[in-house]
Amino acid sequence: MRSFEHVNALNIQTTVALLSEPSTEAIAGGTDLLGELKARLRSPQRLVNLKTLSKLREIRYSPRVGLRLGALVTLAEIERHPVVQERFPILAQAASSAATPQLRHMGTIGGNLCQKPRCWYYRNKLFHCWLKGGDICFAEDGENKYHAILGADRCHAVHPSDLAPALIALDATVCVVGPEVEGEISLEELYTKPTERHRRMTILGPGELITEIRVPPPKKNARGVYLKAMERGSWSFALVSVAAQMSLEGERITDARIALGGVAAIPWRARESERLLVGQEFSEELAERAAEAAVAGAQPLRDNGYKVPLAKSLVKRALEISIRERSDM
């Protein structure tokens, strides 16, 4: 990688100001950024080290407001936290399925949610792809077994985060600060399909930072699961992942939130599946229909057609596991 200046963040305000300057980037765990710097995809002149913002390292929980995760909380801390394990198991499952123990000890939740796609054309300096400001998506007509089956337009990369689908299923929000903004948005709103003018996968602009992730208290009788299909047993991004969170009254589903990873440029909310489920009593046939609905409109490329049945199977399985676990109670 090229040389750069490394400065410690003093407080949020000055950090935002620093990050608004040209050729300046934030670094926390560095597990994503360092890969880009080593591949020379980007060569910022200055890195602002967020790890000195100790306030952003806290995990807080109260039954009334729910879970508050500072942006610098590591995946390892989330995975091991007793309250997360007990109250938000799908978050613990998602965190523990990500990467490797070494990477989870370095990687932060804020960085995980804002990470860049793993598309092998995007990550390779030899390809000036559309997402990097070029003219074409090399995956469209190239090697695309890892690429998107849903909602792709100019870019076929998928969002790689394991935590994002889990947090969306948990209805999480994020606190964002920037030179011109400060506020709380739903995590789902953070993500955006890259467009001609905004070739990024989040709405964050220069100098804008996530400071906290907020998860509301779990609903009554809430159950969920995070399932992830990988090419091998560990240390892999999801081919497809599913986060499902459901609430039940008796046999009737009162609430359902389902989000998929690995299928689209954004964590993919399966709203039609949710609509089919809510108000119904669970059955295998219903799970089948909900699974079908999750991939409705899929447009696979040459090599990624397998993701369609895989996503369906995982959605169905996630629903069945959620229900079964409830009946086990």
């Binding site: 990688m1 090229r2 040389s3 020379r40 793993r118 092998w120 054309y121 390779n124 030899l126 390809f127 090399f138 007509d141 190239g142 090697e143 077994k145 890892y146 299909a229 090419e231 091998r232 047993g233 560990s234 240390w235 892999s236 991004f237 081919l239 295998e284 090599d303 057609g305 397998y306 369609v308 049945p309 895989l310 199977s313 995982l314 169905k316 399985r317 069945e320 596991i321 079964r324």
Partner: protein, 776 residues
Amino acid sequence: MPKVIKTRTEFEGHVFEEYVVVEGEGLSAWDAQTPLRYIGRQIPRTDGPERVTGKAVYTFDVQLPGMLYGKILRSPHPHARIKSINTQRAERLPGVRAVLSFKNAPKLSFRQGQTFLFDEIVRYVGDEVACVIADEEEIAEDALELIEVEYERLPFVLDPEEALRPEAPNVQPSGNLLNGKPDIYERGDLDRGFSQADLIVERTFRTQCALHNCLETHGSVALWEGDALTVWDSTQHIFGVRAGLAQLLGLPLHKVRVIKRYMGGGFGSKNGLGKYTVIAALGAKATGRPVKIMLDRHEENLAAGNRPSTIQHLKVGARRDGTLTALELKAIVNAGAFCTWPPSVGGPARQLYLCPNVKTEQYTVFTNTGPLSAFRAPGYVEGTFALESLMDELAHELKIDPLELRLKNYAEIDQTTGRPYSTKGLREAYERGAKLFGWKALTSNPSPVAHLRERGGAVGERATKLRGVGMASQIWSGNGMPPAYAIVKINPDGTATVVTGTQDIGTGTKTVLAQIAAEELGFPIEKISVEIGDTQLGLYAPLSAGSMTVASVGPAVRLAAHEARQQLLDVAAQVLEVPRESLAICDGLLSSPALKEAVAIKDVLEKLENFMIIGRGAREPNPEDVAVNTFGAQFAEVTVDTETGEVKVERIVAVHDSGRVINPLTLSSQIEGGIIQGLGYALFEQRVVDRNTGVVVNDNLENYKLPTALDIPEIVFEMVDRPDHRANNLGAKGVGEPPIIPTAAAIANAVANALGIRIYELPLTREKILKALKRV
């Protein structure tokens, strides 16, 4: 007196006749009555502590005063002519000491004339274009971006079948087929054989390109002192590198020293001289300072070799009772841009089963992709997958148990030479393996090919998993060969030093040689040191490949130790004034009925000032009347999730015959490592080349999927452990490659058994499983 002998040897499926010079008296392998203190014992690695505490200096760790770093500029195009190259901006960058390219470097022929060190034509993405030598690696990398190269892009071809078409662009001037013709082997009468068959099964199999991904990447450090060159190299053959450097640089052999102390794996990819080594030597010459060039992971996966992809058309004929009548293989191998050592994909078809009528035909094809190299049992892993898959299909068609079919066609002689095998423990391996695995119980009900449904599975009462079992067999050389030389020095204090020019590539060679010397000398192993990996101080030993290090170098070490022991006995008898034949050496002590108590060797030798005992040993020739091979069988049990396509290998049972076991600990690393590497090949590993640009898109450990701890099944293994007295004076044969050979075939057979459908292409990904189940 040295004897000159003409010998016929097999190496990785190729047979050679060559002269060798041997010396020393013959020793036979220890018999069952000889009590052995070190051979066959679990001796921990003698260099284990320095390896695991980070003190071991690998090539990567070599730091010399004033050392510079080299980084190589590689072609971004699969086929192009360099029209112009301008290095001025790079040279002006502070910290840059030299930039080498075809413009200023000598035009050195490489890979048997298929390319030059810096060629004006680049033939794959990753081919060497230039090299920057700078004070720091980062500066060298910065400078690479400042080199201006104008390429004239040429038409390219990536697919070997397309490359064989007449209209395909030529990768090499002589055409895309290596040697202009296929490599053909024939015995018997194929047409007659097929006409005698009651059943003919014909299938096409495809195997992927696999990358070695040695933990330590390829690289060298070069240092000139006057007109003498020293190179630290991560290599499997220090003497080969010395010969190559001397020839290319016009140096006499005594002015080239190649050192390799510790190494993080090679698997065949470090068998020969690399361009980076020559470039480091030229860079060090040009700058007057030592130069280090280590490839990074990305370069490693572009330019450091691979197991080539194959397409194998296999046709087998058999009688109703399973007797093979004919076997035909037509194989296409994607060599990449260069090839001097084609793998022998037809080896298993020629050797594994008794069959009078056999033809193998191999087309080794140049394409504009990264060049192949040897990779742990080259050709045999690929060939065994196809052959053993086809044997299972034949068994299925004939309704014969797959193991029965193999026993039915058991070969007692090597059909390629007509010689009997020195020993062949494959029958024991089958029987013992089947017992350990529970083969009979798992395959007898309800049909020869069992589909055992997992009840329950992951989800409620719905059965989502299928369970299957499969097996496969293995033949490989592993015989070892001359020449290999060693000396054993006995020091005045009763310690001994083994000196030879082999290299420990991570397999435990050093420990095994210490065991052999300790056993023969009668010394405690703590009193033995082993000095290897240095061409200047060592004696010639062959490359550490072909599973031949122990079987080649070990016998020479034993002979050297034996001769040293004879000399020790000679002087001890005279000093102690006892009859020579009454003396024995055990645990470093001399004893004799004529002595009141045992005497330490030190006490004898110290009387003789600094008298130095030096024993010499040379590897004896291989026997001419028998074939020396290694064998084995593996059994696999898998579960397949029919909804998600996930294949989980539940367990592997392996039984191998590699003659005598010298060290069960280092052996277990080889067996387990081979099986794990075979599992990766069966399920995950695959180089992906972008079809439109020729770029390897998974040139990293993120997307090139090696197995992780969670993918590794229960592994149970046993050795037949029968010394091969004809093989050499140890009775030991190689074990580095045998365990990887049958693994993928056994797993593929188990998956086919689970699904009731065969997948003819590796790796067995979720995509292929879901397609086979018609879910895609």
